[in-house]
Structures are given as C-alpha cells and as structure tokens.
C-alpha cells in the first residue's frame, strides 16, 4: 500500500504538469504482478450491485501459475488457481431470470469454466474428435498382444506421415519414447481407448436474439482444430459449427445469432476470414502481408494490427480502406467505446510504451506509460463509466479515468510540405582564396593543363615500373594470377620480448583447394629467433582463413626493431607466390630493459 501511495503522488505531479491531458491517473501500481493479455481481461457487474469488477485470467509470472483474479477498485478481491493457462475470458448473461448477474467464462485448455457469482458453476468440455481408424486398429492389435511395440512404432510413424487425420496425443507421446520405455508404456496404456481432443484458442460472445446491453449472449469458441463453435448460453450445447482453413487466434463478432451475424476470425496463416449466418465456410477472406496481432471492429470497419507495425482498416466484405503506420511494434489492441459521446475508437499498445487511440485514420490521443502495455481494457469499472485499464509487461497495473469534460478531437495534421523541405542545405561557402585561384586558372589555363599532363605521364610510368618490380619479386600479399588465388596478412601480438606472429592465409578461389605450399620467414638472426622459420602449409580449402602462428623472440637488448619478411612458396619453385613485410614493434620486455 505504501508503494502504491508513493506512486500515486508521483502520478499526481505528472498530471498537474500535463493539465490539458484527457486522462486522470487513478492508480498506478508497478508491483501488481498481473501478467495477461487483452483477451483475458473482462469487466462485469459480477455481484449485481452496480460496482463493476475486473476479471483477469492471469498467466502468473513466467506463465507458471495461472490464476483467476478478480479486482475491485485498485485491489484484488479474490484469487483462485486455474488448472491450465487461460486463453480468453468473457462475461455474458446466461438467462433472462432475475437477478441479472452475468456469468464469467474462462477458456483454458479444452474446457470453458463458467463461474456464477464467482463460484464454479459449470465446466464445458469440447467434444472429442474422431480418432484415425487405422490408429485405433493398431492399438487394438497391441491390446491383444499381436504386435510388439517396435512394429507399432513403425506403423504409427507410417500413419503420421501419410494420413490426413492427425494422431492422438497418446500415440504422439509413444513415438517420442526410447526403446526401453516402450514396453511399459504400451502395457500401461493399451487398455485405454485413444482420445483426440483439441484446445480453445480464442473466445468471444455473440448476442442471441436481442441487441440490448443486457441481452442473453452465446459463447463463440475458436479451436486449435480450425473450427468455430457457437454455444447455447443455457444448455451449453453446440448451436453451430463452422470450419476455417487455419487456426483462429482473434475473433470479432457483430449482429445477433438468431437474426444475422458476421464473424471475423484472424488466423495464424495471416488471413482474416469473414463468416456469416448459414455459411459453414468463410465467405470472404482478407489476406494480410503479415501475421495479425489484433482484431477490433469499429462500427463497420474491421481494424487489423499486423506485425509490420501498421493498422489496416477493412470493410466487412474484405475491401481495404486505409493503412496507418505505427512508430513501434503493436503489442495489443482493443476497442474504446465512449457511449455518452457515441465514440468508437481503436486503442493500440505499442512496444515503445505508448498507447495510441485511433478513430479510423486519425490519431486522437497518445498515452505514455512507464512500461510497454500488454493488455488494454476500456469500459465501466467500479462506478466510473470511462475507465481505461492497462497492464504492463513487467506486471504493473495502470488505471486511468477519462475526464468528464474530455472530448477527443482529431489533431489536425500539419498540412503542406513536409518539414524536411524547409531545412537549409549545407552548401559550403567560397572564400577569397577560391576566387583568386579561379582567376589564376583563367589566366594560365594552358600552362596548367600541359604541366599536369606531363606529371600524369610520369606518374603512370613510375606506377607501372613499381608494379612490375613488385610482381617480379612477389612482394604483394594478394596474388594476382588466376592460377594461384591466395591472400595473406600477418598480425603481431604481444609486447615482447616474445611476440606472437599470426599469418592469416586464405584461398580465394571458388572451388579449387591448393596443395603443397610452404612458408618461409626471412629475418635478421641477430635480432630475432624463430623456432620454425620454414614450414609446410596444410591443404587450403577455398574460403577458409587459416591462422598459422609462430613465436618470435626478440634477442636484442638495445630496443632495435627490424622487418621480418614472410614468403609463401610453391614446392619445387624458388620464386615466392606472395610475401608480406612485418614491421616488428619495439620490444618492451626485460631483454630490452
């Protein structure tokens, strides 16, 4: 509590600095330890007393201990452990009876846990999928001890590669095992019937037959098995089943189940599929260039956030309307709906710690937070209608309240030329010296040209002479002939009196190894001692750099340095292929002192 109060005074100061802000800093607790996503946040009047609570499907620090937390105001009201990591949380009204307290649904693994009045009420499990008949047959044979585990393994592997229906968890587990563990596993599991179950990836609610705020809603589940299920709110039977070409990760619904509805499902293959009532398969498909990170419907526009740091707006028929570029990666998205003003906008939590609010293409507001926000939720919390709840990557909780007087206006973007155009080019100034020089050039241009040309001839001559000389004595460290492509450079390390001399020799041909090379050092024997002044080079494979090292010991006690020459020779030829000159540094060792 002490930490919370001190942070509150901090935020109070920030608020006074930023008097024009549209948000009131209600609460900031960096130690709240809430690790969740936008899909696992839900706001609901769980006790029917007009005080809205926040439901959090918390993954726990490091995703280790999943918990269901219910927050009231800034504090946690109840906390209970969950059997598996939550995938989504939603609140919905199950039936028309009074009192109209909403039920809380939490999708986790293959089950939906329904809580009423914060007590476990119902557990819905996904229907089991039919197993592969071939696989079933194999396990039956194993049960009768007709086949040994090794044959079973081979045949299951055959099924895994060919069959369309994937294997059950039991078979997959069996295939992972070592030979020694197989026998025990088969004897333990052969009597059990094989099951194939899928898990829920996403969940949302869809109004059943009324569009009212307090109408009965159906749950819509997306499963790992590429299916969408619509559940009956009371009986938890499956009302509709739709199939998708890929695994859905984000769902957005509009309309009513009994009348007409549209389902938009963003999938792992980077497509958004749009389904309608009476269609078992997608009607429209939006292909994104990157994976979706969020899907929000604003009035009639579907807003998709992609991993390419951009928001795209689409119509319900899959026509692209607009694209907005973000300054950083999008971590989460959600809808901001201010009912009193009839405003619907998209919030996007960015990796640089900003939360941006967009109405279509127009940026309405930017909230800067101390840490990157990973989940966002806007709605009625406690007794305040326009509350924004954010949790940060570090597990902090930020609650902001929209001021009653705040109006979001589109910040009129700067029209006209971009600011870069007004920038002055850095053209250097010309001084008197330059003007005088041009005057001289104008007067004595011919002489200048002639002299320069003569000098250029001489320069070319000298360069050619020196080059021929270097070729003749193979002084250069890079061979020029196409026959022997080689590269050599030498490095001296150490302070002395002992130096480490490393030659890096590289074959620069594309695919021809070089055999039979020798390295020879030429040095003043009075000044330096080398253990091996002449050695063979291993076979040089093209592309690799071979470090060949020797130790050079400085013998002189006068601090004299000299040049050591390295020659690379071919066996049976006396002319070196290439050579390098190494300027040995001054020895700073005891010998010199």
């Amino acid at each position: 509590m002490a930490a919370a109060s001190s942070s509150d005074s901090d935020s109070g100061r920030a608020e006074s600095n930023e008097a024009s802000s549209k948000w009131l800093d209600a609460h900031y607790d960096p130690m709240a330890n809430i690790h969740t996503f936008s899909s696992c946040l839900a706001l609901a009047d769980l006790h029917g007393d007009g005080e809205y609570k926040l439901v959090v499907g918390d993954l726990g620090p490091g995703g280790q201990h999943p918990r269901l937390k219910v927050l009231k105001g800034p504090t946690v009201l109840t906390e209970s452990p969950l059997p598996a990591l939550p995938a989504a949380a939603a609140t919905f009204l199950m039936e028309q009876h009074e009192p109209r307290t909403p039920a809380l649904a939490l999708a986790s693994g293959p089950c939906v846990y329904v809580y009423k009045n914060l007590r476990p009420y119902f557990k819905f499990s996904l229907p089991q999928l039919p197993p592969n008949p071939l696989e079933q047959e194999l396990w039956n044979q194993a049960k009768e001890d007709w086949i040994d585990p090794l044959t079973l393994k081979e045949m299951l592997e055959g099924i895994r590669e060919k069959a369309e229906v994937p294997l059950s968890v039991q078979s997959l587990r069996f295939l992972q095992l070592e030979l020694s563990e197989m026998e025990a596993f088969v004897s333990q599991h052969k009597s059990k019937s094989i099951k194939r179950q899928t898990v829920i990836t996403t969940m949302t609610t869809l109004k059943k037959n009324l569009a009212d705020e307090d109408a009965v809603s159906c749950l819509v589940l997306g499963t790992e098995n590429k299916e969408l299920l619509v559940l009956d709110p009371e009986a938890f039977t499956i009302l509709a089943k739709m199939s998708l070409p890929s695994v859905p990760v984000f769902l957005e619904v509009s309309g009513q189940f009994d009348v007409e509805f549209r389902l938009a499902a963003a999938c792992r293959n980077g497509n958004v599929y749009i389904l309608r009532r009476d269609s078992k398969h997608p009607k429209y498909c939006i292909e994104l260039s990157a994976q979706p990170v969020g899907l929000v419907r604003v009035l009639k526009v579907l807003v998709v956030g992609s991993t390419q740091e951009s928001l795209h707006g689409f119509t319900h028929k899959g026509k692209k309307l607009w694209t907005v570029q973000m300054p950083a990666a999008i971590l989460t998205m959600n809808l901001l709906e201010q009912r009193s003003r009839g405003l619907q906008a998209v919030m996007a939590g960015l990796a640089n710690g900003e939360v941006r609010i967009y109405h279509d293409k127009a940026l309405l507001n930017v909230i800067r937070t101390p840490d990157a926000v990973t989940s966002l939720c806007f709605g009625r919390y406690g007794r305040e209608d326009n509350t924004l709840i954010m949790t940060t990557r570090g597990g902090g909780l930020i609650i902001k309240i929209l001021k009653r007087t705040a109006v979001f206006v589109e910040a009129g973007g700067v029209a006209g030329p971009p600011p870069a155009q007004a920038m002055k080019l850095s053209v250097p100034r010309k001084t008197r010296l330059y003007v005088d020089q041009t005057l001289r050039e104008r007067e004595a241009g011919t002489a200048m040209h002639r002299t320069f040309q003569t000098d250029l001839y001489l320069l070319r001559l000298r360069a050619a002479r020196a080059y021929v000389q270097a070729l003749e004595s193979s002084l250069n460290p890079v061979s020029v002939t196409a026959r022997e492509p080689l590269k050599l450079h030498a490095v001296v390390q150490g302070l002395g009196p002992t130096f480490k001399l490393t030659l890096h020799l590289q074959n620069t041909s594309t695919a021809r190894p070089i055999l039979g090379l020798l390295v020879c050092f030429l040095y003043n024997e009075v000044l330096y001692a080398l253990p091996r002044a002449f050695f063979k080079v291993p076979l040089l494979v093209p592309g690799l750099s071979y470090p060949l090292e020797t130790f050079v010991e400085s013998l002189s006690d006068k601090g004299i340095s000299d040049i050591i020459k390295v020659l690379v020779l071919r066996e049976g030829q006396s002319a070196p292929l290439l050579s390098a000159h190494i300027n040995m540094p001054m020895s700073e060792g005891l010998a010199a002192a």
Binding site: P74, S340, R383, I399
Partner: protein
C-alpha cells in the same frame, strides 16, 4: 446540530434562510447525509439514487437551511453549475472507501472551484470524508491530501468532517 451552529457563526449570517449545495460523486451518500440532518420524524427510510436534483429543507437552532441535493452521476454533473449562483455554502461529500475515484472527485472539485460563480465568492465548503466505517476507507487526513486541500484552494473556508 452543534456543527451547523458553528458554521453559521463563521458565516456571520444574520438572516434566517441559507441555501446550501450538496455536491459529490454518485454513491457518496449525499442524500443520506441530508436525510440524517432532518428531524427524526421527517427522515425517509429508504434512499434511492437521486435523479436530477431534489430540494430539502430543515432547521437548526438559528438557521433554516434549504439544501439542493444534486445527483452526482456523470451525466447529471453538468447541472451542478446551474445552482452555483444560489449557493451560500457547499457541502462536498467524498466516499473515503472509493480510492479509485478520488481523482475524479478532485477533478470535479477543481472545476467547481475554478467556476466564475464560485471563484471569488468566498463560500465556505464543508467536506464530508464519508463512509469511514468501511474497512478499506482512508483517513480524513489522507482524503484532504488526495484532494490537495492543503494547497488552500482560493479564499474559501474549508472544513473537513469525518462522519463515522
């Protein structure tokens, strides 16, 4: 009614009739407080959220009060400004247990005090740090801290009262 007598003494009022505005967020128990100030035979038993506003009258030893009990719900808060001219004193009620909305109360108080009808009017304001009996209530000192009352908002006479 000792408190109200003190209030009237500070006001230095000689006249009989005093108009008091009772303000605060919704669910801060404005109506309940006014109800408790009324004589026991006039008190109503059940109190429902105020719609719009209601006018209550009661008497102390020397003064007769007319209280404008205005709803504190978000959509009715725009109406507050219409009564500022009539107000000779303000009762501002705060729900001490609603830690989250303290900023909203502060915001509303700031807009109230910066209103032209109130700003120069040297109106005494009585703050009720209400619902002190609740477990998660904060102390009156903390409430005045959170509302920044020590910054002496204008020239108003400010009293903080803790109602158990």
């Amino acid at each position: 009614m000792g408190l109200l007598d003190r209030l009237s003494g500070l006001l230095g009022l000689k006249k009989e009739e005093v108009h008091v505005l009772c303000l605060g967020l919704d669910n801060s128990a404005k109506t309940t407080i006014i109800n408790k100030l009324k004589p026991s035979n006039a008190q109503s038993q059940d109190i429902v959220p105020t719609r719009g506003f209601s006018i209550e009258k009661f008497k102390s030893s020397s003064l007769s009060f007319t209280v404008f009990d205005i709803s504190g719900q978000g959509r009715y808060r725009n109406l507050w400004a219409h009564y500022y001219k009539e107000g000779q004193a303000i009762i501002f009620v705060i729900d001490s247990s609603d830690r989250l909305r303290m900023v909203v109360a502060k915001e509303e108080l700031d807009t109230l005090l910066s209103h032209p009808d109130i700003k120069h009017g040297r109106i005494p304001i009585l703050f009720f740090a209400n619902k002190m009996d609740l477990r998660d209530a904060v102390t009156s000192v903390k409430v005045s801290q959170l509302l920044c009352l020590e910054n002496s908002k204008g020239n108003h006479g400010i009293f903080v009262l803790v109602k158990p």
